[in-house]
Each structure stands twice: as C-alpha cells, then as structure tokens.
C-alpha cells in the first residue's frame, strides 16, 4: 500500500484511499448507485404515467396529438448526438487527447443547450394554447378537462428531465473549466467518466419519454 501511495499522483489522491485505482473504482461505483437511485426517482413518475394512461387512454391520445412530433424527433436526435460526443469526450480523455476532450465537451454542451431551447419553444407553445395544467387550462374537443392529467404528467416528467439536463450542463461547465486548466489526463479522468454515466442516463430517460408522450396512440387520433 505504501508503494501505491508513492506511485500515484498525490494531487488527485484523496486521503482516504490507498491508490488512484481504488479511488477511481470507488467513485464509479458511487455513480452507479446514484443512478440506481435516479431510476427509482423517475420510477415513481413512470408508475404514475402508466396508471393514468391505463385509466384514460383516449385522453392521453388526444393530448399526445397536440405535441409536435417534429420537435420531439429533433430533440431525440440532438440528445443521441450529445451522447455520442460525450462518449467521444471520455475516449479522448482516456487516450490523453486533451484538446479533443475540450472540443467534445463543448459539442456536448451545445447539443444540451439546443435540446433545452427546443423544449422552451414547445413549452411556450403549450402555454399559449392554455395546455398548462391549472386554473387557465383549456382543452378543445370532446376530451375537455380529461386531458389535463396528460399535460400534468407531460410537464412533470419532461420538466424533471429538463431539470436534470440543466444540472448536467452546470456540471459540464465545471468539467470544461477543469479540462481547460489541464486537470485531466489519461491518468486521471474519473470525473469525466462519471459525468458521462450521468449524461447517458439522462439521455436514456428521454428515449423513454419520447415514445410515451409523442408516439404511442397517435394513429388513433381519427377515431378519438
């Protein structure tokens, strides 16, 4: 253990660990446990969605039809692209290409911001159409107020997802400033790797949200 201490870079090794390797494994495991926690956190929302969809599928179909699938599809592609650049960022750090790391982190951030901008356009559209739950809610057509619960779930789930994106972008800025100051290298890139896990997780949540809100039941619209 003493020898491990001397070979490790002292600046990055926290006092409670014996070696940099132990530190990396520990942090990564911590991130996985955190993601398990996140799955259960979103799990409550997915459970609620399932229950209400099962209870009133027609209202959900009617609500779903007011969402613009072009925005949803674009955002899905944007997030997949950001996941790709994030994976490349981790790869760049592993192979010690720090300039590429910075570029890929910037690209990831760019896609993240693009996603949120598109989401903003969608939200403001809903606002103008009085589709935001609350006293002003109004939904034309036979479904009427029954569709409100669809929009409740829509805003709760995409809102929680967007909040995770915003937190992720904050972390990204912190990593980027570290990368610019030469903090990361092939020897020490654990924060990049852990952030990558988080970022992919947030993307995966969207991969489930997209079909649940935009796709399922669209073709029934004529019937409903």
């Amino acid at each position: 253990m003493e020898s491990a201490l001397t070979t490790a870079e002292p600046t990055h090794l926290a006092h409670q660990f014996d070696s940099l390797e132990q530190q990396q494994q520990t942090a990564t495991l911590g991130m996985w446990f955190f993601l398990a926690q996140e799955i259960l956190f979103f799990g409550g929302l997915f459970m609620t969605y399932l229950l209400y969809r099962w209870r009133d599928p027609q209202a959900f179909q009617a609500g779903s039809y007011t969402l613009d699938i072009r925005f949803g599809m674009t955002n899905t592609l944007v997030l997949i692209a950001s996941s790709f650049t994030m994976a490349m960022a981790v790869r760049s750090a592993q192979t010690d290409r720090i300039k590429a790391l910075v570029r890929y982190l910037v690209a990831t951030g760019f896609f993240g911001v693009t996603f949120l901008c598109i989401k903003y356009v969608e939200y403001s559209d809903k606002w103008h159409h009085h589709h935001v739950p609350g006293p002003l809610f109004h939904f034309a057509g036979p479904m009427g107020q029954r569709a409100e619960v669809f929009f409740s779930m829509y805003f709760a789930m995409t809102g929680m997802h967007a909040l995770h994106m915003i937190i992720g972008l904050g972390l990204l800025i912190w990593l980027l400033s570290g990368a610019l100051r030469g903090r990361y290298s092939a020897r020490y890139y654990n924060p990049i790797e852990c952030f990558g896990l988080y970022w992919h997780f947030v993307d995966i949540i969207w991969i489930f949200l997209f079909p649940l809100f935009y796709l399922i039941g669209r073709h029934y619209h004529g019937v409903a």
Partner: protein
Amino acid sequence: MNPHESAAGTNYLNAELGLRSWLLTKDHKRIAILYLLSVSFFFLVGGLFAMMIRLELLTPAGDLMEHDTYNHVFSAHGIIMVFFFLIPAIPAILGNFLIPIMIGAKDLAFPKLNLLSWYLYMFAGTMALTALLMGGVDTGWTFYPPYSSNFSHSNVVLVGIAVFINGFSGILTGLNFLVTIHRMRAPGMTWFRLPLFVWSQYATSLIFVLGTPVIAITLLLLVGERLFHIGVFDPSLGGDPVLFQHLFWFYSHPAVYIMILPSMAVISELIACFSRKRIFGYNMVAFSSIAIAVLGFLVWGHHMFVSSQSVYAGTVFSLLTMLVAIPSAIKVFNWSFTLYQGSVSLETPMLYALGFIGLFTIGGLTGVFLGTLGFDVHVTDTYFVVAHFHYVMVGGTLMGYLGGLHFWWPKMTGRKYPEFWGKLSALLVFVGFNLTFFPQFILGYLGMPRRYHVYPPEWQVLNVMSSAGASVLAVGFILPACYFLWSLKYGEIAGRNPWRAKGLEWEVPSPPPTFNFEVPPVVTEEAYNYAGGLEPRPTGLASAKTH
C-alpha cells in the same frame, strides 16, 4: 480538551480546535458527533410534542387543546420523530462513526458528501421547524391527500420540501456506506468476516438508496400539485389520492426497516460481546438483514387493506407480510441461542439488548396480527396500530440506539459513563415504555381510534397509565443526557477496550486518531472470535497491535 488517553496524545477530538474545524470537517467521526448533537435536539423537540399528546389524553375531554391544535401536535410529533430522529439516528451517528473503523478504513469513501449529508439534514430540519413555528401541518406524518391537497391550508409545501431534502441526506449517506463497504475494506476483511453491524447497515443503505427516491418524487408531485396545479393526487384535478398512498408506502414501509435494521445491527454486536460468544448462525443473521430489506419492498399494500384495494391484492400483501416474520424470527432465535451457554454479563448495553429482544418480539408479533387481513380491518387506525409501531420504533429502534450509544460511548469520548446510573435509566426506559404502550394495545383492541383528542370516560384509566408511563420514560431519557455530559469531564478514562470486546474499533485508541489506525490493519480472523484462544485483553493501556 480533556487529557484523553491515546497513543499519540492527539485524537479526532483535539486534532483541530475551534468551531470552524468542526463545521468544515470531513472526518466521519466528527460528522457523527455533529449528527449526535442535532439528532438529540430533534429527539427533544419530538419528545415535547409527545408529552403534549399524553397530557391532552390524560382526561377524556379536550381540555388542553382544540382538535385542530391536536392535529398539528401529533403531526409534528410524527414528522420530527420519523424523519429527523428515527431514520438518521443509528446510521448517521453510530454507522458514521463505526463503519470505517470496523472495516479498517481511514474514512468513508466520500467524506465531503458525508458532510453535505449533514448540511442537508440540518437545512431540512431547520425548514421543518420553521414550518412548525409558522403553524405546522395537520396531515399526520403520512401527508395523505386530501388532507394535504389544496383543501388543506397548513404548511404542506414547506414541510414536504423539508422531508424531500432530508431524503437526499439519507440517500447520500446510504450511497456512501454502500460504496465504502464494497471498496474500502482492509486486507483480509472479507464479506463474511464483517461484523454483523456492517451487514445490517449495508441492508439499511440499500433501502435508503432504492426506497427514498420514491417518496422524494411523491412529495415533489404533491408540492407541484399545490403550487402549479399538476393534477396527480387531487381528484378535482383528475388525480387519484390512493396512488399517493401506494407511492408513499412503497418507500415508507421499507423506511420502517431503515429504522429497525440499524438497531438489529447494534444488538448483534452487544449480544456477542456480553455473551462472550460468536453470534450463533452468523451467515443466517447476515442474510436475514438482506432478506428483510428485499421483502420490505414487497409489502407496502398492508397499509392499505381498507383503502379500496382489491381483496386479492390484500391477500397477497398479507401473505408477503408474513414472510418478513421469517428473517426477523431468525434474528431473534439466533440472538437467543447466542445467549445459551454464553458467559452473560448484564452491563447497561446488554440490558438494552435484552430489552430489545423482548420488546421487538412483541412489536414484531403484533405486526403479524396486523398483517392478517381480517384482524387488521378490525383494528385499522386504532391505538393497536399505534402501540404496535411504538413497540418496534421505540422498543426496538430506540432501545438499540441507546444500547449502542452506551456501548460505544467510551470509544467516542474516551470516558466511561457511570454504570449505576446507566442501569437505572435502562430500567426506567423499559418500565416506562411498557407502561406507556402496553395499555394502548388494549385501548386499540377496545376500539379507541388514533388521532382523536377526546375519548369516552371508560377508557380513562388506561390512558392515565399510558401518560404516567410516558413521564417515567421521559426521566429515563433525560438521565442519560445528564450523565453522558457529566462523563465528558468526570468519567473514568476508558482505555482502548473497556468491554474486552472483539472488533477493529476496539484495537484503536479511545478516542481514535483522525485517520483511525496507527498502522493499516490486516484482518486474519473471523468476527466475534471470542473463543479464539487469546484471552481478551485487559482493560486499559495494554498495547494492542496484534496485527
């Protein structure tokens, strides 16, 4: 600082001085002390509300407070005691202090995160207290809609957010423990050489990490409903109030095991030490902790037998609830078998441990009654339920907590507490507890509903007994606070191993140095190797570098 006996003369208490060194500490032992102070404070607050409840129920008429005030008082008692005392007490104080030392590590895996957990806890606690001062909530600790929906005019939002934030304090603590136990064990400390304390804390941490996020999102939706009219639980907005109960109990039933498992963790250590024997059936006790954690996630429906759940669902939940009795009974039987032919001595911690076994058995068996669908319908929302969960929460968790605190007090402070007063307070707690809560079983069976501030005169005798018991219990809690404080200055110097116990924590000085071990330990033997040939070391100054 007191002149503590310690190998190098410095220890975690006097390594750095000043308030700043405490508030910015990353040392798991100091954070444990921070928790000890703050959790004790919340226990006091929750206890005051309990005394108000018992005072009101002294007479059949509602003469001390209005029904609305009474609603606020029992809600405050429940919220403070459950979220700010019972859940953090043993993991955040004893777990924080002991897990790294027991597994031979210098600290937890994420010391900064550990400090953040404490700040989240304090922030949430301050918020909850602020809400109480602003008028509190009248929902009960369970926040059921419609009590908590837009019909309610109390501070649901503030308390909901406080419990939400406090949940993340627990999640981070649990995550920290899990990772620490996986990755930070000393050479030779295999999974089956871990003290059972660590196994049980591991099971607890699993529930923290997998259960708490569900109540977090549930309370967030509740807050969203009140602030933004997101209709999830309010029927007038298209929601379903029963869904809240499902989501709430999906966390809150496992949370009951967050409260009891750490106490079982303590009891395993106490029974082994004061019987001077290895715990009978170590593996079974270890796995039973995990089994309780896993089964705990499958039984939430037994809180909802009368909440429009189908009879079939009720039957299945009833059956699954019975299954929890198996690992619980394994523990009780194995502790009892450990006593058999052990060299039992009755110091204060052991009194608490034996008290725990008896009271937890009553609490657990009445849990089986309540898990029985037919019987539960009869006693739903009566004092039978109140008595049952106080037998588990107070008779179980609190007894374990106090036993553990007495057991490890010499390790934490370097001083012994006065044994006579310790035994006396253990006795008072046991007698006071039974006097308080046993009559409530009878009251509940006779049909007295919970959460009412008036009752028919024929139940007064039993209620007076209960209130009298609560006073005895209060004395039993105030006494330790007094002699623990006294012992800080006047207590006998404890030495490394005052109990002649096994385990890495007893091989380091009392109080331990900041990084716990003078020499990184290497573990060569099983836990509780009391029969391992070596005579237990004498109390005190003997050098203890067996590794």
